[in-house]
Amino acid sequence: MAFAPIAPIAAVAGLSGAAPATAAGAGTGTVAGGLGNLFTDSLQAASQAQGTADGLMAAAATGELTDLTSVMSAMTEAQLATQLTVALRNKAVESFNEVMRMQL
């Protein structure tokens, strides 16, 4: 039997336009849509900040960088944006669990 060759795995270029899983459980559609958009926006901002920080760190490693503060503040922004996404996810999961715990 001839096996098809395995395609090479492309390097992960970073998240772009990640869509959230359907916000299940919540009752009203507008509330679920709003929270989902917020999560998508913060995820995009986090990946964008991470991309900026990666580019600046590569420039610093190759010796092209003239401004040290730009690297440090880009890394701080990336960290803060990621923490924001995690906090949003935690709150969304918590409220989902609260709703599911309701006795009917």
């Binding site: 901002a45 900040a49 401004d67 503060t69 730009s70 503040s73 701080t76 922004e77 803060l80 944006a81 923490q83 924001l84 906090a87 935690n90 709150k91």
Partner: protein
């Protein structure tokens, strides 16, 4: 990201005061440059700084150079001396430069402190309701 705007504002301050320290260090390093009387003296560098868009921090808009006349000093043993033994030295005041260095360093540290306090504040803010 406008959510964490203090990061960008403090970054602009840190960059500006770093440029000021660089300019002052350049002036101090060149404070004893002797030139021929036919050339202009080493000119001290001063930064022109203004606020960026309101609430956006600070930026350097230009550079102004100091006096080109300098001081004429009698130094006949200098290889650059003219037929009267004069050379042209820069018109720099070392105490002015030292004061600028101290101000720039303290302002730099103040901006770094603002950056760190803002970052700690944001991190704490993300834990509201935990």
């Amino acid at each position: 990201m406008s959510l964490f705007s203090a990061i960008g504002i403090s970054q602009s301050g840190i960059g500006t005061y770093k440029a000021w320290i660089d300019a002052t260090a350049d002036n101090v390093a060149n404070a004893n440059d002797a030139r021929r009387t036919s050339e202009e003296a080493f000119r001290a560098r001063r930064l022109i700084v203004t606020s960026a868009a309101p609430g956006e921090g600070v930026r350097v808009v230009g550079v102004s150079f100091g006096d080109a006349e300098g001081r004429l000093v009698h130094d006949p043993n200098n290889p650059l001396a003219d037929d009267r033994g004069m050379v042209r030295m820069p018109d720099l005041n070392m105490s002015d430069e030292m004061t600028s260095l101290i101000i720039a360093q303290r302002a730099y540290q103040a901006n770094v402190t603002a950056f760190e306090r803002a970052r700690d504040g944001y991190l704490r803010e993300l834990e509201i309701g935990k």
